[in-house]
């Protein structure tokens, strides 16, 4: 417990916020850097992955690709990706910029699968009848996408961006290992100096930052949920609430099990 009190004292010490002090201080600069790296990476990843995800969701083409790709990317070790990119980028870009360029590329690569999956799953979750009625009143495919599918899938699109953002915030911490700034630099210097207050203080800062950003995106996700849509969750839930996909799977499992049992007879 004493460790945490020490860390809190370190966090509230005005000396750690004085502008122009030795790196990795002052704290507010590292927080700003961390947010900046996160923002840039998520923005680039969104520009790449969201249109692709929407396209796949709208046309239904490449569905297997998204499932396979997101699955495989999950197994990619972030630390290895960072280090490999650092060496590859480092051989072409001046050393001072290598850490930044390599980190942003790695963070963008890591953010893409979640955003892609969010866009795809969002459009796919829209009731086909709603899409068809749009088509029936003479909407073009573009109008269907922009006026029906995107507004209705906004919560899932934001859920994808939210998952990606969390991942980027966490990976940016590790990027301090290739001398990127941000809050990871505080933890790294703490580990180097055997300074427990600094390690713990840095760790608490990152965790709070992740929780705050995640909370903000969670509110945004809630706000974009249209009342009455299939994604809107009622306030009071039944204990045995049936969630969409799971029910389909379980019901199918029942049928298939019945078939199996009968075939055994």
């Amino acid at each position: 417990m004493q460790f945490f009190l020490d860390a809190l004292r370190w966090l509230t010490d005005p000396a750690n916020y004085v502008a122009g002090s030795v790196s990795p201080l002052p704290i507010q600069d590292r927080v700003a850097e961390h947010l900046w790296y996160t923002f840039v990476s998520v923005l680039i990843a969104t520009l790449i992955a969201l249109p692709l995800g929407l396209f796949i969701g709208h046309t239904g083409r490449g569905r297997q690709f998204v499932i396979g790709f997101t699955g495989a990317m999950r197994a990619l070790p972030t630390l290895g990706l960072l280090m490999a990119l650092f060496l590859i980028v480092g051989s072409t870009v001046p050393f001072t910029q290598a850490a930044f360029v390599a980190s942003i590329i790695a963070l963008v690569i890591l953010a893409i699968p979640s955003i892609l999956a969010g866009g795809y799953a969002g459009v796919e979750s829209v009731d086909p009848q709603t899409v068809d009625s749009g088509r029936a009143i003479g909407m073009t495919e573009m109008q269907i996408l922009l006026r029906i599918e995107i507004p209705l899938s906004l919560p899932l699109i934001i859920a994808g961006i939210r998952a990606a953002t969390l991942q980027v915030i966490a990976t940016t911490v590790i990027a301090s290992y290739i001398s990127l700034g941000g809050l990871g630099a505080i933890i790294a210097s703490g580990i180097g100096l055997y300074d427990n207050e600094r390690i713990l203080g840095g760790a608490i800062l990152v965790t709070v930052l992740a929780l705050v950003v995640d909370g903000f995106l969670a509110i945004l996700q809630r706000l974009t949920t249209i009342r009455g849509s299939s994604q809107a969750l009622p306030k009071k839930q039944n204990v045995r609430r049936r969630s969409h996909g799971s029910t389909a799977v379980a019901v199918k499992a029942v049928d298939e099990r019945k078939e199996y049992v009968q075939s055994k007879k």
Binding site: F3, F4, V66, I67, T70, G71, M73, R74, A75, L76, P77, T78, L79, G80, M83, A84, L87, I88, G90, L110, P113, S114, A117, G118, A121, E124, S125, A159, A163, L166, Q167, V168, A170, T171, V173, I174, Y177, I187, I191, L200, G202, A203, V206, T207, A210, D214, V239, R240, R242, S243, H244, G245, S246, V249, A250, A253, V254, E256, R257, Y260
Partner: protein, 244 residues
């Protein structure tokens, strides 16, 4: 001039020893791979067992449900490196102790699985449960013979997600001195040795692939009526993955 010369030299040497490094250090890579696999297995297993208990409880008692699921998503938000360095203070372990990594990864596995488990049990058709109650199943038997098998496909899908992300996350532990494939990443970076890192990434993928195949086979063995295990997925499940 000087820089270009050095670069040519380093490219030459790494080109030279690309394959031979793996052969010369095969024992090291094999040992790191095995340790990596062992370090991944425990959190996946523990996380699943604890999530099973908590998720089932959450589904049984409404009061717990929102608390347990909210707790899971808060734990999930904590970035991995900070958790690795905070845990020694809570557990009283040394910072290089591998138990920190196991506990941290169990927490993540639990955080991802808890929601999946609660949803899987919630999706078990009420008819099936009522039927089992009507023919006199005790709640223990009902769990093992009705709820668990019917929730099986969703549980398996969740386990596969957790398996892949846990194996990927173990390597972060190398920063605090754990001997797993992550060592090839940190050491390869220090020695400016790209092939070493790529071999590490490849080996990590290999473990993930083997674990995934084993899980699918286990699913086929335990749930022979469920033919299409590999296709089970939905939007939310695609989204849940823990990066770093």
């Amino acid at each position: 001039m000087m820089k270009a010369g050095l670069q040519e030299f380093s490219e030459l040497t790494s080109e030279d020893c690309r394959m031979s490094w793996l052969f010369d250090n095969f024992d090291l890579v094999a040992e790191l791979t095995l340790n990596h696999a062992a370090l991944s297995f425990t959190p996946i297993f523990l996380g699943f067992v604890i999530a099973l208990v908590l998720g089932w409880t959450a589904n049984r008692w409404l009061l717990f449900r929102s608390w347990i699921i909210a707790g899971g998503s808060i734990l999930y938000t904590i970035p991995s490196l900070p958790l690795f360095v905070i845990l020694p203070y809570i557990l009283g372990t040394r910072i290089t102790d591998e138990r920190n990594i196991i506990v941290a990864l169990t927490i993540y596995a639990l955080a991802i699985l808890i929601r999946t488990v609660a949803e899987a049990f919630a999706a078990v058709p009420t008819d099936a449960i009522e039927a089992s109650r009507a023919i006199g199943y005790s709640s223990w038997n009902r769990f093992w013979h009705v709820e668990f098998p019917l929730a099986g496909p969703v549980l398996l899908a969740g386990l596969r997600v957790v398996s892949a992300s846990t194996i990927a996350l173990v390597s972060v532990g190398a920063i605090i001195g754990s001997a797993n494939l992550g060592y090839l990443f940190t050491n390869g970076k220090q020695r400016d040795f790209l092939e070493m890192i790529l071999i590490g990434i490849g080996a990590s993928f290999l473990i993930a692939l083997v674990f995934d195949i084993l899980l699918v086979l286990l699913g086929r063995l335990l749930m022979p009526w469920n033919k299409r295990t590999s296709l089970i997925t939905n939007g939310r499940r695609i989204l849940s993955s823990k990066g770093a």
